[in-house]
Symmetry: C2
Subunit: 331 residues, 2 copies
């Protein structure tokens, strides 16, 4: 296993220290936790936004902490949910008196721990609400999930909920728009090579030299099918068509597109995928309002990509375009 | 070889089509070339900035085309210099009447072809000047270079020369500040795994499972030493110390730091490296003004990283902080 690290059991602590060192004026770590908040947290009179989950998906989620996006990210061990007490500390740290909103990717551990933290905070008199992101159309239920998984589309929820919260929206208004984004976002991914959790020391699954897996999850959970590697055009088509069969998307409607790299895929290849995604949507009369190509939600050094579509309306377009100062999402 | 592509001989064309599809309002391709310009090129009364080189280093260089940075990037085949005629077309396309400035990474092929294009343009009455970036302290001369190689530090030249050009500086003023950045920028890299040029179909070099190479170039050119993988702290120290022995950097002076991923390195590991780089500089009394962690100058799917230091003064700080709207460098 080739990794640049010191101690496989300290990668999260070292990473967070390196992040705070990189953005000392923008981010701070809640003492004795692995949670990161904006340096000015709590922001008085603003709904506080908290997300997080296992690490290994960088820049998600700590890279999305900043003005216009999240107030805090709670960082678990690699591919492991953060504990309820850490999430609870983050909720307290960002409570500016207007309530706290949790954005949770749909994994059983995350949902359980965030909900437990929510109860702890509510018992302390903090108003808390949540949304669960389940954008991955590949599979119903999985090794870590009841229902669909939450993957790269989560970043659109961060961005848009973050923008409306920044404008002073109430907790209910934040929830309404976050649920709209969740309802209108669909994703699907694929991989060519596995990834290795540092503390495990060996790849979490195996793919043959000529094989890819369609519908794979961001922790290497099984997808739909393993088959010989096809062309970028065929991969882009398969992902996009599967997403479209699940979306209520008509001629002349508008979308945001995200072509997300899972960690090791050269940006060149992501643009090659985007070429075909763009062409397919355009042929169907779907208007592409904005495109995001890059690494937004990774799976350590997995090679592969995901495609996400977000159906837009005027409200969502305005919020998507709003300023963000988060390190990993400058707008 | 596992890659997401259609035809190994068409990766550059497909990538550029995917980029234009992603940023149709921001970028355009010069017809019948592989050069990308801002959509509004030429900008009247502004020095036009042109860079480029072989592809495979994405987001460099096309991702840095945009207001506040480059006016054009000329994209060669993978790890291959663009031809003089393509560079010449880019120079003509961005000439707004105030001259054109070329930012060239120091590789023999790039220097030769950019200089040939410069002569062609000058013969047409376009005023052209240039800077050659040679930030890599690892080796004097290499398989592709006389003198030092240009690597990730080139992005600082794009950013700062781009900012002053945007403010309406003359060609001479742009050159002066670009040369200052080159003189005050030093980098060094290392790799854990090789990369594969699509048309070649096999890795360009081999490293043993427990081996790394210090000082390697962004095309896999030989570095200083192959040795067993050490810790992130030791890697960060070795790169930083080698840079510092070559820089005139005193106590209380200020730098910008870039920890750059070569393609496959999880962002987590780049932050782990940054932790140590930050600590080393701080211990020496060097003040870190700004830190950049991410993929700025890659080598396809090579695993590894580079560290870059840019010594700052008030002028450079202001220009570094100026607005950039390039897709891969939002400021």
């Amino acid at each position: 296993m080739k990794k640049i690290m010191n101690d496989p059991n300290r990668v999260v602590q070292d990473m967070l220290a390196g992040m705070i060192a990189a953005y000392p004026n923008e981010l701070k770590q809640i003492p004795a936790t692995t949670a990161i908040t904006r340096s000015e947290a709590p922001v008085s009179g603003k709904v506080g936004l908290v997300s997080g989950g296992g690490s290994g998906h960088e820049p998600a989620h700590a890279g999305y902490v900043g003005k216009g996006m999240l107030d805090a990210a709670v960082v678990g061990e690699v591919f492991t949910s953060p504990t309820p007490d850490q999430i609870y500390e983050a909720i307290k740290a960002v409570d500016g008196g207007k309530g706290v909103f949790l954005i949770i990717k749909n994994y059983t551990g995350d949902v359980l721990n965030f909900e437990m933290a929510m109860e702890l905070a509510e018992a302390e008199g903090i108003q808390v609400d949540k949304v669960i992101v389940n954008d991955d159309v590949a599979v119903e239920d999985s090794s870590f999930t009841i229902g669909r998984r939450g993957i790269a589309g989560t970043v659109f929820v961060h961005k848009i909920a973050g923008a409306i919260a920044e404008q002073g929206a109430t907790l209910e208004e934040v929830k309404t728009v976050a649920e709209k984004v969740v309802n209108q976002t669909r994703s699907m991914g694929m991989a060519l090579t596995p990834c290795t959790v540092p503390a495990a020391g060996k790849p979490s699954f195996h793919l043959e030299e000529n094989e890819m897996e369609i519908g794979i999850g961001i922790h290497g959970e099984a997808g739909i099918e393993r088959k010989p590697i096809t062309t970028a055009d065929e991969i882009a088509s398969e992902l996009t068509e599967k997403i479209l069969t699940d979306m209520d998307l008509n001629n002349n409607e508008e979308v945001a597109v995200m072509v997300n790299g899972l960690g090791s895929t050269p940006e060149m290849e992501l643009y090659i995928v985007n070429k075909k995604v763009n062409q397919l949507l355009t042929e169907k009369g779907i208007h592409i309002y904005k495109t995001f190509v890059g690494e937004y939600m990774t799976a350590l050094e997995m090679t592969g990509c995901s495609v996400t579509l977000l159906k837009l309306d005027d409200e969502l377009k305005t919020l998507l375009d709003a300023t963000s100062e988060a390190p990993a999402f400058r707008n």
